[in-house]
Symmetry: C2
Subunit: 408 residues, 2 copies
């Protein structure tokens, strides 16, 4: 038997049928028409946003839509956050459907000219990733007769300790090195572009409040140093995100309130040049991961060499991350349940595999589950972020997963 | 500097502009309209098929379309092979466009009832993966008034040594354990289904001819033993595939001629019960991987902390495997080139990254490349198998890659 991650608070105490947003998993499947199905509970997202607001009342909240760009979910989130962060012209178009352009920022190390033009034309903020990109942006702005809105993305000389994905403190394709950032600000101002401030992202998926606190303090200090060097105050500093969620056995949820308290103290002490600056935190995963449940149906239960395999109708084609094949070195089990038997004692150790004809397609490896039979629904939790949109949907020619957002 | 894999024979000797199927990479991009672009050279596929035919003239050749289901490529391959292997109802429908149903077999551990029905109705062969699936197939056949064509997929008590992906010799969701296979054959015959033989797949992506030879011999012996146990001769034994291609530095191409010679000897010695049996080998990757080139354009060249990053307009959203995030534990470099400077000496060590806002999006890590500038085309080789269709195309909202098949 191998351990699995813990259920999120909204599901941890359930007994009997799995309930998502007030209705049973079976109800949602009936409404959607079939499995495989992602259900996104908008109330859980709203609860995370409320928790953030309570912990960090003075900080702008941005949603990084790459975590989950589903239209209905985005429409539910947009009114509750101060900004949307996008990573392509496609995401920009999606964001513009639900948010004014001045609240949208566009990051990404390889923005094409047509993407720069789309953002400048719309009036979204470009998080400029290099001197070359800035120059292309100036030229396009001139051609369009629009002063581009530009923030400078900084590759910080800081790393977020313990983050699942480090993005600072090293050579990086993201942003300009801190030593060159002030010069880029000066160039942007000189070009007549509308300088919006700094975007400084040091890592993601961190569960250690101490590490985030340390990184945020260093980020504020870096922003102050760069602003002083450029001799201009940034309207906004995007402090990045990095708030992780507990996926695996032994993971402990991030203490967001502790982060908020420390951030307030750090901002109270900030340098004079940042006095009028707004600060934003950009979150994707932390807002939506726990809200998503991936529901699959058992097609077969089979024995092989003394092991039991539960074959379900959805797999890595929809939920690549849960199979351990996306950004993780060691495969570990996401939390998983038989959707009619929440809270029941485990009956057997089984492996839950998807329908794909590849050994990579394993959603649960030797997990202890209650009794499970053909036709049962199996739920894989933590499916709200980097799930459907981050998986190879066309692989092996199965239909895409259905997706439903619970009504607000 | 980190090493990269070797170019395939068709590209290894080129100098100057990269030529694919008689035309330059730039020509193909012009024809397709833009990058990112996959070009599949049908002549390379035909050459691999011809090599297989020469090495193994008595063996049926099947194409596993999951390796690359692109319609034009499939249309080019179908007339050259004896069978198509599919892994979903979606792939079945694609295959039926180009091949008669009796030459199509359908494997997969989680076939849904509607998928079984589609295959039975069409007259394709089900590679039956469990007793439960057989029972569902019998019931559907009865309902439709059609005797299902059924082969038994066996989980062999053999493993393919040195394979990239072992699929035998252990507990597995694929097929029935060898000890239960004869009983399943008996049940299929007793149910009045049309028993087609065995499907025995021990692993994939092996470069060691000795290991494949050993596995094939053991597979033939296993098929004979099971046939004798069931007291019925199999019309066909699918020996699986497992032929690998050299992706990485140090990989040595498989000696297919040596495999063919040994296989002929093994078949000459086969048990009497297999005397009238046909044998098939099922290949995906080996037929198409080397035929595919993924072409991207340089958006930016930037420096960070002493390293050079070449940012291109395509990445893991189209070619996940090359980023090292699909089925590989240690990230290694696929062969990669500046498409205008084939055979030129290396000028610099650079990392080639895609446009996605994630550190996972790295196509070449510290590779030695000739001079490269914004606007240049960069080619990533070995993109013909498990590329476009096995990648998270929707991730971050970029458009899908274009795909072109060179005319035969």
């Amino acid at each position: 038997m191998k351990p699995m991650g813990a259920f999120s608070p909204e599901f941890a105490q359930q007994h009997g049928p799995l309930v998502i947003g007030g209705r049973s998993a079976a109800d949602w499947v009936a409404q959607a028409g079939d499995t495989p199905l992602f259900v996104y509970d908008s109330a859980i997202v709203a609860a995370r946003i409320a928790r953030f607001r309570a912990a960090m009342p003075a900080i702008d909240l941005h949603y990084a839509i790459k975590a989950n760009p589903h239209g209905d979910l985005l429409a539910a989130i947009a009114p509750l956050v101060d900004g949307l962060d996008v990573a392509s012209a496609g995401e920009l178009a999606t964001a513009l459907d639900v948010k004014r352009a001045s609240a949208i920022s566009f990051a990404g190390p390889g923005k094409r000219d047509d993407e720069l033009a789309a953002a400048i034309r719309a009036g979204a903020t470009l998080n400029v990733e290099s001197e070359g990109e800035a120059a292309r942006g100036f030229a396009i702005g001139e051609r369009l007769g629009i002063a581009p809105r530009m923030a400078v993305r900084v590759n910080p000389d800081i790393e977020l300790r313990g983050s699942g994905m480090r993005m600072g403190g090293r050579a990086s394709p993201f942003g300009v090195d801190a030593v060159r950032a002030a010069a880029l600000v000066t160039a942007i101002v000189a070009a007549g572009a509308d300088w919006r401030g700094f975007h400084i992202y040091a890592g993601s998926q961190a569960l250690d409040a101490g590490a985030i606190i340390e990184t945020q303090a260093a980020t504020i200090a870096l922003a102050a140093r760069l602003a002083e060097e450029a001799a201009v105050a940034p309207p906004l500093v995007n402090l990045g995100g990095g708030f992780g969620v507990p996926y695996f056995a032994g993971d402990v949820a991030l203490d967001v309130e502790r982060v908020g308290e420390a951030l307030r103290a750090a901002l109270d002490d900030r340098a004079a040049i940042l006095r009028e600056t707004r600060f934003a935190i950009e979150l994707g995963r932390w807002l939506v991961a726990e809200a998503g449940v991936y529901l699959t149906r058992v097609i077969d239960v089979k024995q092989s060499q003394g092991e039991t395999f539960v074959v379900v109708d959805g797999g890595l084609n929809h939920q690549l991350a849960a199979s351990g094949n996306f950004g993780t070195v060691v495969r570990r089990n996401y939390p998983i349940a038989v959707a009619t038997r929440m809270g029941h004692p485990a009956a057997d150790t089984v492996s839950v595999v998807g329908p794909l004809c590849t050994p990579l397609d394993r959603l649960g490896d030797k997990v202890a589950l209650p009794p499970v039979a053909v036709g049962d629904l199996v739920a894989i939790f933590l499916a709200g972020a980097y799930g459907a949109s981050a998986s190879p949907a066309a692989f092996l020619g199965h239909p895409p997963a259905r997706e439903i957002v619970t009504p607000v």
